[in-house]
């Protein structure tokens, strides 16, 4: 058995890749030998000091870690309750937490002797991060991106091209993130000999949810050390946004066994009672897609629905399997924030703190705005500020009715 510590929320997944009933390996037979090889190599890397050293060296020198745990003084004063800290992932190279995972996975790909990288992307942040590490290591990179997303995220598309990646528009299905993932899986099946698939979130077939989480845990590990340094104690609560949920699981995981309240914020789009949202836990049910069992948005026949969120990065009808498990056992509270609330939070944070957050992260801020005023001044809250919002200014301008 891999890890049998009792009374811990941090032991998953089991050997078959399950978190409770979630997770697993629901992929085409062609991919199975490769998936097993990824697992074997990752298990070697986990215990290899050379791999860890190389990973952390790149995080320090290339990504710019550790990033600050920043006391959001004006936001705290404005909301008049809990003391709010931001974990500043948006200060990473490439502007979001995505790069942490890409560094880890490309090192894994190199160790496996793979010579070509593929990825899917929604908002383009994971695509840019993947293209960046491919440039760093001189590897060819193909990024699948929905035709609809290419249209709404043009700056990131050009960034990827500048970095040397080939961006392939996906015109099948709903032309967004889930279809890009389908297309990346089709590429992988076809080029199984030489290609490594860098999945952008803590989802997909085992061991991806585990390894993406582990690479992202640098967020929570740093935050833990930093808050102990600043406050001499652990925080009372954590808040982060979830699409697939990699930044959230990275922040939460090191605190799961502590007395800390945890809130994960789903994108409620136009509202969870409408058919235009991306809140898989609040509005979905368990199903099987993209290699894992997890909560999904779907119809009564098991056909996957399109998700909707103002934030392209949360616009996915599923969620990582560990989140589904943490939801079912009640360890993490999953709460919805809609497009309007996220837009308000985007503007408030920009004006009060001088930080333009990603629309994804603005969902977390919106929940902090709800929660903080209800809490006492000695309540310490840490929020994951997962990305910067430069990429979103066009979307925000349109939503606010401004022509730029």
């Amino acid at each position: 058995m891999a890890n049998t510590q009792v009374n811990s929320y941090r032991t998953g997944p089991d050997e078959e890749g399950h978190f409770g009933i979630f997770g697993g390996r629901y992929v085409a037979e062609t991919l199975m030998p490769l998936i097993l090889e990824v697992e074997k190599t990752y298990n070697e890397c986990k215990n290899d000091p050379t791999f860890k050293q190389e990973f952390h060296e790149l995080l320090k020198e290339f990504v710019g870690r550790p990033n600050p745990l920043y006391f959001a003084k004006r936001m705290t004063e404005h909301l008049g309750g809990a003391k709010i800290y931001f974990k500043r992932e948006e200060l990473n190279h490439t502007g979001a937490h995505k790069i942490n995972n890409c560094i880890g996975q490309i090192l894994l790909a190199r160790r496996m002797g793979k010579s070509r990288i593929i990825a899917e992307t929604g908002a383009g942040q994971h695509g840019v991060a993947t293209a960046t590490v491919c440039a760093l290591f001189g590897m060819p990179c193909v990024v699948y991106m929905g035709a609809k997303d290419i249209e709404r995220q043009k700056p990131n598309v050009f960034r990827m091209k500048l970095l040397g990646a080939e961006v392939v528009p996906v015109t099948s299905g709903s032309e967004s993130l889930k279809d890009s993932m389908n297309e990346a899986l089709r590429d992988w099946v076809t080029n199984v000999e030489d290609t490594f698939y860098i999945i952008g979130t803590a989802a997909g077939p085992h061991p991806y949810p585990e390894l993406v989480r582990d690479f992202q845990c640098v967020i929570g590990d740093e935050a833990r050390e930093q808050i102990l340094g600043k406050e001499g104690r652990l925080p009372d609560s954590l808040v982060a946004c979830v699409g697939g949920g990699s930044n959230a699981i990275g922040l939460f995981h090191p605190f799961l066994d502590d007395d800390v309240d945890i809130y994960a914020v789903e994108a409620a789009g136009l509202g969870v009672d409408t058919d235009k949202h991306a809140a898989s836990l609040s509005g979905g049910a368990p199903g099987v897609l993209h290699g894992n069992r997890t909560y999904l948005l779907m119809d009564e026949d098991g056909q996957i629905n399109e998700a909707h969120s103002i934030s392209a990065g949360l616009d996915y009808p599923g969620i990582g399997p560990e989140h589904s498990h943490l939801h079912d056992i009640g360890r993490v509270n999953y709460v919805p924030i809609d497009d309007t609330e996220a837009l308000e939070a985007f503007q408030l944070c920009t004006r009060l703190e001088g930080i333009i957050p990603a629309l994804e992260s603005a969902h977390a801020i919106a929940y902090v705005m709800k929660l903080a005023p209800t809490l006492p001044e000695d309540h310490i809250m840490v929020m994951g500020l997962s990305g910067r919002g430069d990429k979103d200014i066009f979307t925000v301008a349109t939503a606010l009715g401004e022509d730029i």
Partner: protein, 276 residues
Amino acid sequence: MGTERIEKRFEALKAESHAGLVTFTTAGDPDYDKSLEILKGLPEAGADIIELGMPFSDPMADGPSIQEASIRALKNKMTLSKTLEMVRSFREGDVETPIILMGYYNPIYIYGVDRFLEDALEAGIDGLIIVDLPPEEDNELAVPAKNAGLAMIHLATPTTDKKRLGQILENGSGFLYYVTIAGITGTAKPDLTPVKEALDKFRTVSDIPMAVGFGIKSPEDAARFAEFADAVVVGSAIVDIIKNNLTQENVANSELEGRVLSFVKELALGVKSARK
């Protein structure tokens, strides 16, 4: 009938010493009625086994032809229940031809595995090919299907070695579906030699019938593979004929059914003449 009907068919093919033709169409493509008419015409046209696709919104292992067939069917409100109903109608006129459902796991999971197995057997379905259930997930469906008497047809691929084949065959039954290429349906054309070598190798391990499919598009291709395979699967090429006989609004023209079935006749002729 289930597994038994498939076994009987392969015994008959063996006795006639030629390979079988497995045809693939998507249930509900382009619409329920046309799809059922095609289904009913397939045995006479020469299909020895019928593989019927269960439409799914996210067919990860399929190329453009079968993806679009799924979308056409779903647009016309095809569901898993209606697919079962279609097979029930087919069985009123044919109790000999095995029917295999092919698709992805989620619609079955949502329908409920036990209820599905019961309804599928009752409708006259004999086997299942579920692309996203490798042997690692056999407990989900393969084991309960086997216990219920339905064949769970497992896939082997160019990435399958002998050791893994043992694992694949453990709960697999009916026949083994050898995927001729590393890739998705209806795209790359497979080379003959590596496929033959793989089957020769697998036959030293198991005497289960072995069908080959992916990228086989013409009667000539089918004939080449039928020289050594126990059955040959043709899918995308048939689906393409459906697509090419639709109006812009995806309504079938009057030629559609006839053209599909005459192509199946040519395929059957190719397959059956291969070992003469």
